[in-house]
């Protein structure tokens, strides 16, 4: 049962119009002597996201007013393309799942727009930045609202493009552009999986309509083999976008972009698109538990790997980047074991606390004039008290300390793993929870506690303007309390978010004893406590960067994965291209042409010997020819 609601098409339109206007303004005026005022750009930039946020609220209350099974609002703007059985509408679908995504994407998006007005001030490409940011938000909203996989793919590629543009924003530096290229290309590898998955899905069950609602109705016609193929291919797409093994490598490099971008795109919204996609296709994944368990295992192993890397990083943004990868791993573990609502809830809370942490890191970087090395910071809590307070809340949420939001969402995933019998995933999950607490507070202690390591920049540090701290405080409130929205029964709650999401998802909640749940909670809290204590012991009083040896050195160098990829993929690719264009192209593919010319030359030199150049020899040829002709004629006359 679905309702039409034309206004939902406007949600992505506002930021897109904003992007167009800002882009044109910047494009036409950026070579002028005097650029347009930042106030103008800033105001225009924030209008779109804020309007979208209000519309998202309208959508939410509209849905809330409907009975649960009817909570589907659709709007088909126009037929995008229709060929044979394939019929794709430029359509939008707002259901509980997308409305939840909408709410936090537009909310956090608006906050980060406001924050960026402060962070990006005095940047030469102020206007361009906001054009890209608006374009990103528009694409993300298309991704979330798309009524079918193809429309989702529009947003999917759109956010990838914006990610590329924003990572290589400071494009004079080659490294930044390379990081952008890496992000785009790795994402494209994922997109390849997405497109192929879509294609297989279409040929299997798409002829009755290629949007989620029709696909859901026809999902029972999917054969298990095709189901596995589709699920795994789509998951390749999710791996690309959400930075999972083996495609996670782009995300840490993506930190080359401005910090608000890292907060919005590479932490809160875009990178969670993969999780959203798996949840979207829960009607397929639910039928193919095998594919689901692959998703879960990839997710939890990514969580482990990224947590290991996170423990040794020295760049504050890279620590957060690896923690993002790690948390995304949790989310995939959640959706992989068919606990879709738990995964999505973690997406939701993670958006708050990770955006908070990134913006807080941004404030630190801003205060220290673009210093990102944590081993050059220290003792900043006196200079940046507001930032410190907010960051600690974010860190507590990330580490999963009760009662902050991260605890509830992460625990929901771990508990689902335990309840559904995935003990291995649960165990690794608890281990990673401890590691998360360790590396998060290692960062907090090194940056804010102890004594300053670089006295000069410490002296110049000051709290950023309120346009930057205000979003921090709002996000801190969110990071502290959003966990309450989905309190499990053991804490007297009713899993409100899970129930809200239920109409959109195909999942079953196993019934288990409260004892098991209690045991799970105790185990993860204990792990977090251990991690926290170690971090405090090592760094709480101020310490210098330890020498990394053995395994730590291996982890510090990120297991040399980038180098290995470079050696076995990138360089051979380039070398292969060079071999083709320098050797194969001129020597091998031309073989038929070479052969023809050779044949002509040979034939020519064979006939050449007849051409002696003496006139009498030609006369002889003539005579022989004429004689033969006469002979032939006389024969034929008789």
């Amino acid at each position: 049962m679905e309702h039409t609601a034309n206004y939902i098409g406007l949600i992505p339109l506002f930021p897109l119009i904003g992007a167009l206007v800002l882009g044109l303004m910047h494009m036409l005026t950026c070579t002028n002597e005097k650029p347009l005022s930042e106030k103008l750009y800033g105001t225009l930039a924030c209008i779109g996201p804020v309007l979208s946020f209000f519309l998202a609220l309208v959508v939410f209350f509209h849905l809330k007013g409907l009975p649960a099974p009817e909570r589907f609002l659709t709007h088909d703007a126009f037929t995008w393309f229709a060929v044979g059985d394939l019929h794709v509408n430029m359509g939008f679908l707002a259901d509980p799942l997308s409305s939840l995504m909408l709410l936090f994407v537009t909310f956090i998006g608006s906050l980060i727009h406001i924050y960026s007005v402060g962070y990006m001030s005095e940047d030469q490409n102020f206007g361009k930045f906001f054009a890209y940011l608006n374009l990103f938000l528009g694409s993300m909203l298309i991704l979330v609202l798309g009524s079918g996989p193809v429309v989702m793919f529009v947003g999917w590629e759109g956010v990838g493009l914006c990610s590329y543009l924003l990572i290589s924003f400071y494009s004079e530096d080659t490294d930044n552009v390379l990081a952008g290229n890496k992000a785009f290309i790795v994402n494209r590898i994922g997109d390849l999986g997405f497109v192929l998955g879509m294609s297989f899905l279409f040929w299997a069950i798409g002829s009755g309509g290629f949007d989620y609602l029709s696909l859901k109705e026809n999902a029972h016609n999917l054969t298990p083999t095709i189901g596995i193929v589709v699920c795994l291919l789509l998951f390749v797409g999710a791996c690309g976008k959400s930075a999972q093994i083996p495609l996670y490598v782009w995300l840490p490099d993506a930190m080359a972009g401005p910090t608000p971008v890292s907060a919005l795109i590479h932490a809160a919204t875009m990178v969670t698109a993969g999780v959203y996609m798996v949840a979207r296709f829960s009607f397929i994944y639910a039928h193919v538990p095998f594919a689901g368990s692959i998703v879960a295992w990839v997710g939890i192993l990514t969580a482990l790997l990224a947590a290991i890397f996170g423990m040794f990083q020295r760049d504050i943004k890279k620590i957060l980047a690896y923690s993002t990868v790690s948390q995304l791993g949790y989310m995939f573990a959640g959706v992989g074991i068919a606990a879709y609502s738990a995964g999505i809830f973690h997406v939701f809370t993670h958006a708050f606390f990770k955006a908070l942490l990134f913006l807080g890191a941004g404030s630190v970087i801003y205060a220290l004039h673009h210093e990102q090395d944590i081993w050059k910071m220290g003792g900043l809590k006196e200079k940046l008290p507001k930032t410190y307070g907010c960051m600690v809340i974010g860190a507590l949420a990330l580490a999963g300390v009760p009662p902050f939001s991260g605890f509830f969402s992460k625990d929901e995933i771990l508990f689902s793993a335990l309840a559904s019998g995935h003990t291995g995933i649960w165990f690794i999950g608890v281990l990673v929870a401890g590691m998360t607490a360790y590396y998060t507070f290692r960062m907090i202690f090194v940056v804010f506690h102890g004594t300053p390591r670089d006295q000069e920049s410490f002296d110049h540090a000051h709290e950023p303007p309120s346009v930057m701290t205000l979003p921090l405080i709002i996000l801190a409130i969110g990071a502290a309390f959003t966990g309450v929205l989905n309190l499990p029964g053991i804490f007297g709650g009713s899993l409100a978010v899970s129930h809200w999401l239920a109409p959109s998802l195909t999942e079953h909640h196993p019934h288990v004893s409260a004892w098991l749940e209690f045991f799970g909670i105790v185990a993860s809290v204990a792990a977090v406590a251990v991690g926290l204590t170690i971090a405090y012991k090592k760094f709480g009083k101020g310490a210098d960067e330890p020498e990394y040896t053995g395994f730590a050195k291996f982890g510090f160098n990120k297991f040399y994965v980038d180098e290995i990829y470079n050696a076995i993929l990138v360089q051979p690719y380039k070398a292969f291209g060079a071999v083709i264009s320098r050797f194969i192209e001129p020597n091998v593919t031309d073989i038929h042409v070479k052969f023809s010319t050779w044949l002509y030359k040979k034939a020519g030199s064979a006939f050449k010997s007849f051409q002696v150049g003496y006139i009498r020899v030609y006369a002889i040829y003539m005579i022989i020819g004429l004689s033969l002709m006469s002979l032939f004629l006389s024969q034929s006359i008789n």
Partner: protein, 98 residues
């Protein structure tokens, strides 16, 4: 009767051919060609006589006219060749050698 004429014509023609093929002097070659033309003329006249029609005569006249014109052009070319290379050996003029 006619055979004798034709035999003579063939013999003359063959002598012409041999001259063209075997002689290296441009003039000799030239004369041999004339010989071949005249062999053809002889045949024409002989057939004309045999068929009692004047067509052969007409053709023979035609051939003579052509031969005269060819002579004029040909000798001019020969003079130029001589100017160019200083002798009239056909082996010297082998620019068409492949």
């Amino acid at each position: 009767m006619i055979q004798d004429y034709l035999t003579l014509s063939v013999i003359l023609f063959c002598i012409g051919i041999l001259g063209v093929i075997s002689r290296r002097n441009v003039f000799t070659v030239f004369m041999s060609i004339e010989l071949m033309l005249n062999a053809a003329n002889l045949a024409f006249i002989a057939f004309s006589r045999l068929h009692e029609s004047m067509d052969g005569h007409v053709l023979a006249m035609m051939v003579m006219a052509v031969a005269a014109a060819e002579c004029a052009l040909g000798l001019a070319v020969v003079i130029l060749l001589h100017k160019h290379k200083g002798n009239l050996d056909t082996n010297v003029f082998s620019l068409l050698k492949g």
